[in-house]
């Protein structure tokens, strides 16, 4: 079935009412807090996004249709304007939704720092929440550990421990502990420890209960959680959403980003930051995608309000807001995720929280470099009041080294399109390619350099326009240059000694072709990760300076001018 076919169905339905045919379709992403809907319609032979709306999920579908009708009515053909509500109500829809609940896993491992940390990372990036964790070195008496595991309400157990070449008696003891805590329940058990212990671990449980997975920590120096993550993703889908996973937003977002990367032959990083979930998808030119899904990684993340969380966040604010107010605002965001920050202070706190979550995700990914396109999705990123805020959230949070184009999924169409069949995704994304993403611009992000010294010199050549530069950008500063949407530029980048764009070799010169957007070209020499003064007043002044630099209208400086 292609995207055209359901639309033809609408044409018939509309024809039955003896009115003119209207070819449209509805893309819906039902989030845990907000629902996004996009009307896709064919006009003059081309499929375009005709309208989009978002509202708290609790408001229901009728309101959503009403909002879409209101958006559509001003530009709609008079002959169908009266029937828009009916047409939308009966329009074919492609929908996806946030998982209704996260999977809960019980973790038992030998070491909190090694096997436990690897297993936890794999579980948390596969959409699970760790309901209880016990490690042989957690300092608790064995009886207390067992009592905690017995009280845990879990969907599955994850056991880890032991290097591939070693004896691991403690791993077996931890497995025994889980077997004892699990009792007569039939919850699945994953063994992600030393392969030499598989048989012995299996003997502790009833036949068939244990599935063995590659050890994420085969030695002290190695850490590869990917096979475990993939197994955990499969298990989660099987246990929590057995009805089909393509309609799950984390899955459909991954599929859409992968197809975008394949069709554009670019390396694409997509970040979807929601109220509960955060998804990271890194896809290469072949469309091969690796994703990480954090069930508790959205704006209601417990890490934001945990010990020290509000204090850390208060340090990221360009405004003087005390830690107590930050803590209350974050808790209110958690308690009522469908509400909106009405004041500038609350928006600043929410944006600081988003930057913090992105930075945490990026730190887990390792240094992010060589990305051609960085896409922000989710209301906080994609519906930020100003494009400058969206760009700053992405750049401050992800810190993509090198030359990267930035865009947001403003309408929220990516994830629903990813819920289409394999053959249809390509067609769907292709048909809407001009509307799908809102380009924010391109960024050149470098790392290193002497404080206050020149980090890079950038010259931008634009066809039919005067050459800009070379512009000198000092360490810790950023500069915006004009480069409109669709306009491309050839960049020549000269790096100072000790400065890098994250490439495999330390080249002093680099060239790139970029396309502009709402902000133009962003030259960012603020280091990776961001370095900020320790004194509160100085730090706030620097943060406010960066905020203002993003918000300022891009200007063409004179050649050799410094930023």
């Amino acid at each position: 079935m292609t995207l055209e076919q359901p639309v033809a169905g609408v044409t018939r339905a509309a024809g039955e009412q003896s009115g003119p045919a209207a070819e449209l379709s509805l893309l819906v992403d039902v989030g845990s807090a907000w629902t996004k809907a996009v009307v896709v319609a064919r006009a003059r032979g081309r499929w375009r996004i005709a309208a989009h709306a978002a509202q708290p999920s609790a408001w229901g579908e009728e309101q959503l249709v009403t909002a879409l009708v209101a958006r559509l009515s001003s530009g709609a053909d008079r002959r169908v304007a009266d029937r828009l509500a009916d047409l939308l109500a009966t329009a074919p829809r492609i929908a996806c939704h946030t998982p209704r609940r996260a999977g809960r896993i019980g973790l038992a491992a030998v070491s909190a720092e090694l096997s436990g940390a690897s297993a936890r990372r794999a579980a948390e990036s596969a959409g699970w929440t760790v309901a209880e964790a016990a490690t042989a070195d957690d300092g608790r008496p064995l009886a207390e550990r067992l009592a905690a595991l017995q009280a845990a309400d879990v969907d599955a157990w994850l056991l880890a421990g032991g290097f591939d070449d070693g004896e691991a008696t403690q791993a077996l003891e931890m497995a025994g502990l889980v077997a004892a805590a699990r009792g007569a329940s039939r919850t699945p058990v994953l063994w992600a420890g030393s392969p030499g212990l598989v048989d012995q671990v299996a003997l502790l449980f009833e036949p068939g209960a244990v599935e063995a997975v590659a050890n994420p920590r085969p030695s002290a120096g190695e850490d590869d959680p990917r096979p475990l993550r993939h197994t955990l993703e499969g298990l989660l889908q099987q246990l929590v959403e057995p009805g089909g996973v393509r309609q799950l937003t984390p899955v459909s977002f991954r599929r859409a980003v992968a197809e975008l990367a394949r069709s554009a032959e670019r390396r694409v990083l997509g970040v979807d930051l929601g109220a509960r979930y955060a998804s990271w998808v890194l896809a290469d030119e072949t469309g091969t995608a690796e994703s990480r899904v954090f069930a508790g990684g959205g704006l209601s993340a417990a890490s934001l309000v945990g010990p020290g969380g509000p204090a850390r966040l208060a340090k990221l604010l360009p405004l003087a807001i005390d830690e107590l107010a930050v803590a209350d605002a974050l808790q209110n965001l958690r308690a009522r995720p469908g509400t909106l920050p009405q004041t500038e202070d609350e928006l600043a706190i929410m944006h600081a929280a988003a930057r913090q979550l992105l930075a945490q995700g990026a730190a887990e990914e390792g240094p992010i470099s060589g990305i051609d396109l960085l896409i922000g999705s989710g209301r906080t990123l994609a519906a930020a009041p100003r494009p400058a805020q969206a760009a700053q959230l992405l750049l401050d949070g992800v810190r993509p080294l090198g030359v990267t184009e930035l865009a947001v999924d403003a309408a929220g169409a990516l994830s629903p399109l990813g819920a289409l069949d394999d053959a249809e995704i390509r067609e769907g994304l292709g048909m809407l390619r001009d509307d799908l993403l809102t380009p924010l611009g391109a960024a050149v992000v470098c790392r290193g350099g002497r404080p206050g010294g020149v980090a890079m010199r950038v010259t931008a050549r634009r066809a039919g326009w005067p050459t800009i530069g070379p512009i000198e950008v000092r360490s810790g500063r950023l500069q915006l240059l004009p480069l409109g949407r669709g306009q491309s530029a050839e960049l020549e980048i000269e790096l100072e000694a000790g400065v890098t764009l994250g490439g495999p070799r330390r080249a002093r010169r680099a060239q790139a072709t970029v396309t502009g957007g709402a902000l133009g070209l962003i030259l960012d020499a603020r280091d990776v990760p961001l370095t900020m003064p320790r004194r509160a007043d100085d730090r706030r002044a620097v943060l406010a300076g960066w905020r203002d630099a993003f918000a300022r209208e891009p200007a063409t400086p004179a050649s050799g001018e410094q930023a």
Binding site: P56, W59, G60, G176, A184, S185, A327
Partner: protein
């Protein structure tokens, strides 16, 4: 919400239920008995069976997790020799390195209390589901254990702070209804005075964290007894209870209630329907605002603005015009408003 609600009481795995489906239970009734495992003892299996340690795992006749009585076989050799449990307990596992088994003796039976009144609908491993014939009031946050007790209103005004001096021996065993906040000192005193729980409109997150830290420390040094829960109805910060809700609580003072702080739930028994809430209010309805600068304030939605309008933060959204009870007229995002529904006439 009125009528019956299904409440899932978590019980540790291994608990022996003392109720069955259809049983009527009271808040202080024992739903099951649980025996905590104590410090484990090692049982020599390989030595007793005269086999190599690595062969022990395949000779087990009891699997980890099994409850063994004194004298029960743990492993049996090919020659019929048996290694038996020297004491009753829970088999935790075996070590193939030294050929021993870990056996945790079980402690005395401890009662598992559900803290809810109602009829048992399901008994599973790890949970007992009870149909609760009470009025459910949902909060937005909370902390602490499940508790039950009589409701007692401890402030005169819903916007008043609950102060430590307002708590005396008369509050012991009760669930207090406070006002707009309570300090960590007040919460600590309440617990020390044997108060079962506190219902508040708001609380500063910092105060709640401080209180939790004090409780954690006291638990570590072993000086904590009795359960205590806190339920938050409106939000974090200094937020009063909606006067309509406060009035309902006053009308139900003395009724038995069950409070689940961590789950942010309160059941009040023999109660009329509680004033409800609905998202997306209609023009003319009484509303309550969430988020600053109007958090916790009530008023009437006098109009819904056409098109999208920007909030002071710059977010374009559907806005309503609210006449607050202090007379101020202000635009508020509809997403930040809830209609406060009147108590049905039958109540």
């Amino acid at each position: 919400m009125n009528g019956a609600a299904l409440h899932r009481v978590r019980i540790p795995r291994g608990t022996v239920p003392s109720v069955m489906v259809g049983s009527d239970v009271q808040p202080d009734q024992v739903l099951g008995l649980h025996r905590r495992p104590g410090n484990p003892v090692r049982v020599l299996l390989a030595t007793r069976l005269r086999v190599r340690p690595e062969a022990v795992a395949s000779l087990l006749v009891a699997r980890p997790g099994a409850r063994l009585a004194e004298g029960d076989a743990i492993a049996r050799g090919a020659d019929g020799r048996e290694a038996v449990a020297p004491t009753g307990g829970l088999l935790l596992g075996v070590s193939v390195v030294d050929g021993t088994a870990l056996l945790a003796p079980l402690g005395p039976e401890e009662p598992v209390i559900g803290h809810v009144h109602g009829r048992v609908r399901a008994v599973e491993d790890g949970a007992i589901t009870v149909e609760v014939p009470g009025t459910l009031v949902r909060g937005v946050g909370g902390t602490g254990e499940a508790v039950h007790g009589e409701l007692m209103v401890a402030v005169h005004d819903p916007g008043e702070e609950l102060r430590a001096t307002a708590i005396d021996v008369g509050a012991t065993g009760r669930i207090l209804v406070g006002g707009s906040r309570a300090s960590a000192e007040t919460l600590t005193r309440a617990r020390a005075m044997g108060v079962a729980g506190i219902v508040l409109g708001g609380v500063l997150d910092k105060e709640l964290r401080d209180f939790e830290a004090i409780q954690r420390r006291r638990r570590e040094i072993g000086g904590l007894s009795g359960a205590f829960g806190v339920l938050l109805l409106e939000g974090f910060g200094k937020v009063g209870i909606d006067p309509q809700r406060f009035g309902w609580f006053k009308a139900h003072a003395g009724r038995m209630a069950s409070l689940f702080g961590t789950d942010a739930l309160l059941y009040v028994y023999d109660a009329t329907s509680a004033p409800g809430r609905r998202t997306l209010p209609r023009v003319g309805e009484r509303v309550i605002a969430h988020r600053r600068p109007f958090q916790g304030r009530a008023g009437v939605l006098v109009a819904e603005l056409d098109d999208l309008h920007a909030t002071p933060s710059g977010i374009a959204t559907r806005m309503g015009l609210v006449r607050f009870e202090d007379g101020r007229l202000a635009p508020v995002p509809l997403a930040n408003l809830e209609a406060t529904l009147p108590v049905p006439p039958s109540a």
